[in-house]
Symmetry: C2
C-alpha cells in the first residue's frame, strides 16, 4: 500500500504532548501522517491529580484526538495499541494489524516506575492514566463512606490515613489537593465523622521536596504543605505495601489503605521492543538530532528518549522537553526529506512550577523565583492556557472558580466498580 | 441503638427522584432519617441518553447525595447495597450490616425488563445506570474506530448499524441523539469513512411511538426521527441478539454489534425480598395511602410500587409519580406520628415530553400539545430546571449551548476497559 504513491509515510506513536505537537508541525509537510494512540484522546496529564481529588471531571482534561486534527488533511488517526516496533522491516505490529512507515516518530511517553517492588505494583495507586485518577477518586471517597460506619477506632484511623510517596511535583500537588479535599469539603460532607482523624502523609526518601527547584522554594513548599495539614516526612523510603500497611526501609509501619506512588517514572514498555541497549529508566539513547543510532528514519522524543544536556545530565521527563523535541524532530525530518543538514537538539528550560492548594504555589523561571499567591495565579494561567480546546478550558475554569469561591469540589462521585480497574476495589 | 432516644427512626431506601424528595420533606419532622443508596450520588436519569451519546459528561447529571443534605441535621446518608428487607423484624440487611427502622420508605426504583430473554440480558445494552451510559458511549465510539480500519464491507456495515428497541421516550430520545451524533459530529471526525453507511434503527413491537401521547404527536415523532435519518420500524419484536445479529420474531435478521434495549422496565430486585405477592412488573401492591397491606409502617413509592388510578390503570413508572408519591407518603407518615387520618394518593399527570434532537420535540400537557421548536425549548427549560445543583445546571447548559452552536459533542472519549462493565468490551 504505502508505495502506491510517492508521498512519504510518517507514523507517530503517541498523542501526548510530544506526539500531538509533532503531528501538528507536519500539517503542511509533503508527507502523510498516521498518528497512533491506544486512547482516542489527548490527556492533559498535569491536571490528573485534580481528577484524583475530585476537582475536575475526567472529560475536562481529555480531548478527542480526532477533534484536534479535523482540519489536517494529511493526517489519519488510528486507535491501536502498538505491541512492537520492527526496526528492520520499518513497521509496527499493533493489536489492529501491521502498519508500515518510511519515517517514525516514537513519542510513547512514560509509565510509573515501581523499581521492581511487586507489592507496590499490586497494591499502590499510580497517576499516569485517566483511569488511575478515577480509581483514586473512587477509592478515597469510598473509604470515607466506610469510615463513617466503622466502629473500631484503629481500623477507622487506617482508613483515613492517605499516603503519597514522592516529593516531586506530582506528589506535592496530590498531597496538597488531597488535604484540602478532606479539610475543606469532606469535613462538611461527613459532619458526624471525626475528620480530624484523617491524615495525609507525604513520604520522601531524600531530604528535600521539588529537587529541580531552588532550596528556598523547597522550604516554602514544606511550610505550605504543613500549614495545609500534610505530614511531610523526609528520609522515608517505602519498602513494601500489602494493602493494609506500608513498611518503610527503616522498619517503621504505617497502617493505611491508600498509597499513591509518585516516586518514579520510566519509559513506556514499547521502548523495550526496539531491541537496542537502553539507558537509565528504560529510555532509548538518541543522537543529538533525536535519531536512533543506525536508524536515521526513526526519531524518539519525550519521556521515551534518553539524551544528556551539555553538562552531562539526563534531560528530565517533562512536557517542555517533549514539545521542544517534537519541534526539533519534525524540523530534522523535513531536513532529511530535502537533503539539508540536521541540527542538534538544545533544551531551553522554561522553568517549573507546582501548586500546593488554594493561593499557594512555587515557581522557578530562570533566575525568577515566585511563591504564594502570585505563583499560584501564574500556575492557574499557564495551565489553563495549555489545556487543549477552548471548551475544556471553560469547563475547567468554571470548576476552579466554583471550588475557589464555595470551598467545594465538583465531582466527588464514586463511579461504581465499572469505572475503575481491579486494583481499586475496596480493600 | 435505635431506641436509646425516643426519636422515630425513618429509613429511606433509594436516592432517586422519590427517595430524595421524601428525605427533603422530612427535614423539619421530629424523626431521624437514614437515607440508603448503593451510589453516593443522585442520578438525573432523564439525561442518561445524553451521556450515552457523548452530549454531557457523567459528572454533570450526577450529584453527590451528601452535598444535597449538608444542611439537613436530622439525616444521615449510608452508602450501602440493601440485600433484603426483613418486614417481620423491621430491619434491612445490607452489605454493610443491618439497619433497623421504625418507619420505612421504600423507593428502590426500577430496572430493565428483558422479559426473560437471556441473550438480550447478556448482549444488549440498557440505560438505567451511569455505567450503562458510559459503556454505550465507549462502545459506539470504538465501533467507529474499528470500522475505519475494517476492509470488509459487510463487517463494516454491521459495525455501523445501531439498533434501539422500544418506542417509549428513552428509545425515541436515544435513537434521535445517536443519529445526530453520527450525522453531525462523527461524519466530520471520520472524513475517510463512508458515514452514510451508518444506520440507526428504532424497533417498536407495536404500531406507534410514545403511546402515552396523542396519536398526532406520535406521528410527528416518527416524521422527525425519519427526517433525522432514523429508520423507524413498527411490528418489529426482538426475539434474540447474539452480539452479531438481532433476530426478530418474524425471523428477519439484522446484522449489528449494538442493541440498546429500552423496551421494558420492572421494579428493583429488592422488592422481591419483601416476601409478598407482587403485581405486574414485579411491583409491590400498596394501599391508596401507599402503605404495604399488613405493614402500616412501610411506605412504597415510585417504580417499586403498584397502584392503579381511578380508571383501573396502573400508574406509570415515571419521575412525577415518584415525587408526588414522596409528598403523599411523607404527609401520611407525619399523620401516623400525630395520630391524624391518612389520605389516599391521587396522581396529577403533569404531562410528558420527549426530544428528538436539535429543535424538535413533542410535549403533551393536559389538553395542550406542543411540537417542533417550542416543544424543544420547553423540554430544555424543564430539564435544566430540574437538574439538582446550580453548578451541574451551568455545566449542562454550557455543553448544550456549545453543541447547538458548533454542531459538536463534548465528551466523545473512550474510557478504556476500566470505565465500563464487561458487557461493553468490543465484540
Amino acid at each position: 500500500m504505502k508505495n502506491q504513491t510517492k508521498i512519504p509515510q510518517v507514523v507517530i506513536i503517541g498523542a501526548g504532548f510530544g506526539g500531538l505537537k509533532a503531528a501538528r508541525n507536519l500539517a503542511d509537510a509533503p508527507v502523510h501522517v498516521t498518528l497512533v494512540d491506544r486512547n482516542n484522546y489527548h490527556l492533559f496529564q498535569p491536571l490528573l491529580y485534580q481528577v484524583a481529588t475530585a476537582g475536575v471531571a475526567p472529560e475536562e482534561i481529555a480531548y478527542p484526538v480526532r477533534a484536534v486534527f479535523r482540519r489536517q488533511r494529511n493526517l489519519d488517526f488510528q486507535l491501536a495499541q502498538v505491541r512492537r516496533v520492527d526496526l528492520e522491516h520499518c513497521k509496527l505490529v499493533t493489536d489492529q494489524g501491521e502498519l508500515g512507515y518510511d519515517y517514525l516518530i516514537l513519542a510513547a511517553g512514560g509509565r510509573t516506575n515501581f523499581f521492581g517492588m511487586d507489592s507496590l505494583e499490586r497494591n499502590a495507586f499510580d497517576l499516569k492514566e485517566l483511569g488511575d485518577a478515577v480509581a483514586i477518586r473512587n477509592h478515597v471517597l469510598r473509604l470515607f463512606e466506610r469510615a463513617a460506619l466503622e466502629p473500631d477506632d484503629a481500623a477507622r484511623q487506617a482508613m483515613l490515613t492517605f499516603v503519597v510517596a514522592g516529593g516531586g511535583p506530582t506528589g506535592v500537588e496530590s498531597a496538597g489537593a488531597l488535604s484540602e479535599l478532606i479539610r475543606l469539603v469532606l469535613s462538611k460532607d461527613f459532619p458526624r465523622l471525626k475528620v480530624s482523624q484523617a491524615r495525609v502523609l507525604l513520604l520522601e526518601a531524600a531530604d528535600r521536596l521539588l529537587p529541580a527547584m531552588a532550596a528556598e522554594l523547597s522550604d516554602e513548599t514544606v511550610r505550605a504543605l504543613r500549614e495545609k495539614g500534610v505530614d511531610v516526612r523526609f528520609g522515608a523510603a517505602v519498602a513494601s505495601f500489602d494493602g493494609q500497611k506500608i513498611t518503610l526501609q527503616d522498619g517503621q509501619a504505617i497502617p493505611t489503605r491508600t498509597l499513591i506512588w509518585a516516586a518514579g517514572v520510566r519509559a513506556a514498555a514499547l521502548v523495550e521492543t526496539l531491541g537496542i541497549p537502553l539507558a537509565r529508566q528504560g529510555r532509548a539513547p538518541v543522537a543529538p538530532t533525536l535519531q536512533l543510532p543506525d536508524h536515521p528514519e526513526v526519531f524518539v522524543i519525550g519521556d521515551a528518549a534518553y539524551l544528556e544536556d551539555r553538562s552531562g545530565k539526563a534531560l528530565p521527563m517533562v512536557a517542555p522537553v517533549a514539545t521542544q523535541q517534537a519541534d526539533a524532530a519534525t524540523a530534522n525530518l523535513r531536513a532529511l526529506l530535502t537533503g539539508k543538514p540536521l541540527h542538534a537538539f538544545r533544551y531551553r528550560d522554561p522553568g517549573s512550577m507546582a501548586t500546593i492548594g488554594r493561593n499557594r504555589a512555587v515557581a522557578q523561571i530562570g533566575p525568577l523565583k515566585l511563591r504564594g499567591f502570585i505563583a499560584w495565579a501564574a500556575w492557574l494561567f499557564v495551565h489553563l492556557m495549555k489545556i487543549v480546546g477552548f471548551r475544556n478550558r471553560l469547563a475547567v475554569l468554571l470548576n476552579w472558580a466554583w471550588d475557589y469561591l464555595f470551598y467545594d469540589r465538583a465531582v466527588r462521585l464514586i463511579g461504581g466498580p465499572e469505572f475503575e480497574p481491579e486494583k481499586a476495589a475496596l480493600r
